[in-house]
């Protein structure tokens, strides 16, 4: 390796000259390309094997009838025609959007508040570190523990509600509550992570700006709205995009807490796709749904980035 390095250093110094002479095919340059390919190779193999190939195969499978054990059979757009008329699919899309909406709105708001409170009120690294703890717990463990906490009979939440004179709420077993309840678990899980990202962003805002604000007589909420928010826009945009994509990927929380019940009230798209593929062996149809979800996500993310002008803050 040492040899390679010492050879590379003077070569890179010569690159500019080489480019100026537009002598790209010089033997020295060709050697660079080879090294570059070797260095890229591991990542490239990973990308091709675990990303590109499955994606294209998934797209291909969505136009087939495929039950795993027999070769796929080309059926054109039949899966998509069936999809358009599949009530369960549209219901699960709605359920997913409902979940995403709650997670994104509540999650972003709470993580912003948490980050600002951390930033303005405490310098303790222990407290700051504790915020991220839920993020470190596996989703399955979190979901299992929360399903006990929210249990209609034995859950501590309902015991508290009953002690206060209320009636026990079937958080995970009634249609009205199930998605908000799972969404709260999702928010609790991701809150620390997004709060830390925002917190890091807050630290980049110079204290002098707040000093200036204070001199001009701005109150704490005013400074938050007029100073913090505009300066934080790129960070918030990123948090928003992360939250949306993360929320769309919900699966394990649902699988552990409700399995899509009651009466499909929490059947998110991922669960439906999973059930079709691994329960009913209908991999063609499941692929068609996955492709549709992929297209939705692409459109949503693209629109979001454009609308939020994520690459620029309001400083300039």
């Amino acid at each position: 390796m040492a040899i390679v390095k010492t050879q590379a250093a003077p070569r890179s110094a010569r690159v500019k000259a080489a480019r100026a002479m537009s002598n790209i095919n010089s033997p020295a340059h060709r050697g660079d390309a080879r090294l570059a390919w070797i260095l890229i190779l591991p990542a490239l193999v990973g990308f091709l094997a675990f990303f590109a190939y499955p994606t294209f195969r998934g797209i291909y499978l969505s136009f087939t009838k495929f039950t795993v054990f027999t070769p796929p059979q080309w059926i054109g757009f039949d899966n998509f025609v069936e999809l358009a008329g599949d009530d369960v699919f549209w219901n699960s899309l709605f359920v997913t959007l409902y979940y995403v909406a709650i997670v994104v709105v509540v999650g972003t708001f709470l993580s912003l508040v948490t980050a600002v409170v951390l930033h303005r009120l405490t310098a303790s690294t222990v407290v700051r570190g504790m915020i991220i703890l839920p993020f470190l717990i596996s989703n399955v463990v979190a979901a299992t523990v929360w399903s006990w906490i929210l249990d209609a009979q034995l859950g501590i939440v309902n015991i508290a509600i009953e002690a206060l004179g209320g009636e026990s709420i079937m958080f995970l077993t009634s249609r009205g509550w199930v998605i908000p309840a799972v969404a709260i678990i999702g928010v609790w899980k991701s809150l620390g992570y997004t709060a830390i990202i925002i917190f890091a962003g807050l630290q980049t805002v110079p204290a002098s700006i707040y000093e200036a604000g204070r001199i001009d007589g701005a109150s704490e909420p005013q400074m938050f709205r007029r100073l913090t928010l505009p300066l934080m826009r790129p960070i918030l945009a990123m948090v928003l995009v992360l939250n949306v994509i993360g929320a769309f990927q919900v699966f394990d929380l649902i699988q552990v807490t409700t399995k899509g019940g009651p009466a499909n009230a929490s059947l998110v798209l991922q669960s439906y796709i999973f059930g079709k593929a691994f329960g009913q062996f209908d991999f063609g149809y499941a692929s068609a749904m996955a492709l549709t979800l992929f297209v939705f996500l692409l459109i949503i993310t693209f629109t979001q980035l454009r609308l939020l002008r994520a690459s620029e803050s309001d400083t300039n």
Partner: protein, 444 residues
């Protein structure tokens, strides 16, 4: 150039490693080696361990590994195993999945093996026909059979002025509920000690429900509503096997299910989704006086501390007593590398020796009559009464769950509709839709 050598070296090592890994799994001649067997029931896994010494003594070259995976993951794991070729050599399977596995060519027809080794399938007194696929071939050897029963708290029954015989001889009709309805109402007690059939009963503050929830999303209602509706002469499928429709659109079905849902509305049974713990916990904690459960629950129920348990079979209706029953069976994976050894293990599990050895635990009801008797006697000594089940079998009061095609799709489609019905999102108009959906799915 040095780099090249490193890369080449690494590649070579990788190649050799892969080759040795491959050759490691490939070996294995006839009737020796390792047989992997899976079940989803942890209690049965422990019981069947008792068959191992006898089997390995007779077949010293074969090693059997029993693995158990929780039922929630079991079939997913199995599917993944089929796809990757790493499925167990043989495994316990449930009737609704016969259609999928046999139809997709993932399990072996056993007729040739049966003929070749002269295995006598007549040892099974129940369950054999449920494991014939539409091609008429035998794909499974029965392991067990199961039925449902009402488990009741004998003290609560006595306190209500009934005897155990009253519970064992309940009658049912969907109009009035029969003596079943009377008993359930009377066994229900609210927080002030007022019984369900007495004036001043507070249905929103019930201490002990007369019966555990009979509302279930289960497509055949095996341990919930099935016994009640089957007592009216209703049957799940329009044919005994490979039906083209499930008879959810029968008016008698809607009437009975309305009655079942009404029990919760009257406060005689918990609301759908209200209780999250199992029947044994509900009965043991005194939340219910009676609960329906599977025959596989009987040993658990009998061991609930402080509970004097009674077991009763289904109530008698206009068409007598009847409930759906199912038989799990052993299937053999087509990808098994060791057919002979696997067949030896599967047939040993289907022998009186193994069924009796494992059956004495009462964790399942053996499919072989002689072993069933051994199991019943052993359990009777421990104070567990299996006679409601054995009597039902003897009196022909069980009907086999029909094997179907696309079983999993039926489950996924029907379960949410039942849940919608029991949580009052839908009314009994849902049943016609359910019947129609089953017709569509079976026709696929």
């Amino acid at each position: 150039m040095k780099l090249q050598r490193i890369v080449a070296g690494a590649a070579f090592v990788g190649l050799v490693a892969t080759m040795t890994a491959c050759s490691g799994g490939g070996g294995g001649d006839s009737a020796s080696g390792t047989v992997n067997w899976w079940t989803w029931d942890e209690k049965q896994a422990a019981s069947y361990e008792k068959c191992l010494p006898g089997f390995e003594e007779a077949n010293p070259d074969i090693k059997v590994t029993i693995s158990q995976y929780a039922v929630d993951d079991y079939f997913t794991k199995l599917t993944a195993g089929f796809v990757s070729g790493s499925a167990p050599d043989a495994f316990q399977n449930s009737v609704p999945l016969l259609g999928a596995y046999a139809g997709q060519g993932q399990i072996m027809p056993l007729d040739d093996l049966i003929a070749k080794t002269g295995f006598d399938t007549s040892v099974f007194s129940v369950g054999l026909d449920s494991w014939k696929y539409t091609d008429g071939k035998q794909y499974g050897l029965p392991l067990d059979w199961a039925a449902a029963a009402f488990y009741f708290n004998d003290d609560a029954v006595t306190a209500a002025g009934y005897t155990a015989d009253d519970i064992k001889n309940m009658t049912f009709d969907p109009e009035t509920g029969g003596t079943f309805g009377e008993i359930v109402a009377h066994l229900t007690v609210d927080a002030n000690g007022v019984r369900g059939d007495e004036p001043g009963f507070d249905k929103s503050n019930v201490k002990t429900y007369g019966v555990g929830s009979l509302a279930s999303g289960d497509f055949n209602g095996q341990t919930s509503w099935n016994g009640l509706v089957s007592s009216t002469g209703w049957r799940l499928g329009d044919k005994a096997s490979w039906p083209t429709k499930f008879n959810y659109d029968d008016p008698a079905f809607a009437k009975t299910l309305d009655y079942v849902r009404g029990l919760a509305d009257q406060g005689f049974a918990p609301q759908f989704g209200q209780f999250t713990v199992g029947g044994a916990e509900q009965l043991g904690s005194g939340s219910v006086a009676m609960v329906e459960g599977g025959s596989w629950d009987v040993t658990t129920m009998a061991k609930v501390p402080g509970l004097k348990l009674g077991v009763a079979f289904m109530p008698t209706g206009s068409d007598g007593r009847s409930v759906i029953s199912n038989s799990n069976a052993n299937n053999i994976f087509v990808g098994t590398k060791n057919v002979d050894a696997t067949w030896k293990w599967v047939t040993y599990m289907g022998s009186e020796a193994c069924q009796s050895a494992a059956g004495v635990d009462g964790t399942f009801l053996p499919s072989i009559a002689a072993s069933m008797q051994v199991a019943a006697d052993a359990q009777a000594e421990q104070g567990v009464d299996l006679s409601p089940f054995t009597d039902a079998l003897a009196n022909d009061e069980l009907y086999a769950a029909p094997p179907t095609v696309n079983g999993q799709e039926v489950v996924d489609t029907i379960t949410p509709l039942f849940e919608a019905y029991f949580s009052h999102e839908r009314d009994n108009d849902v049943f016609a839709e359910m019947a129609q959906k089953t017709e569509e799915i079976f026709a696929k």
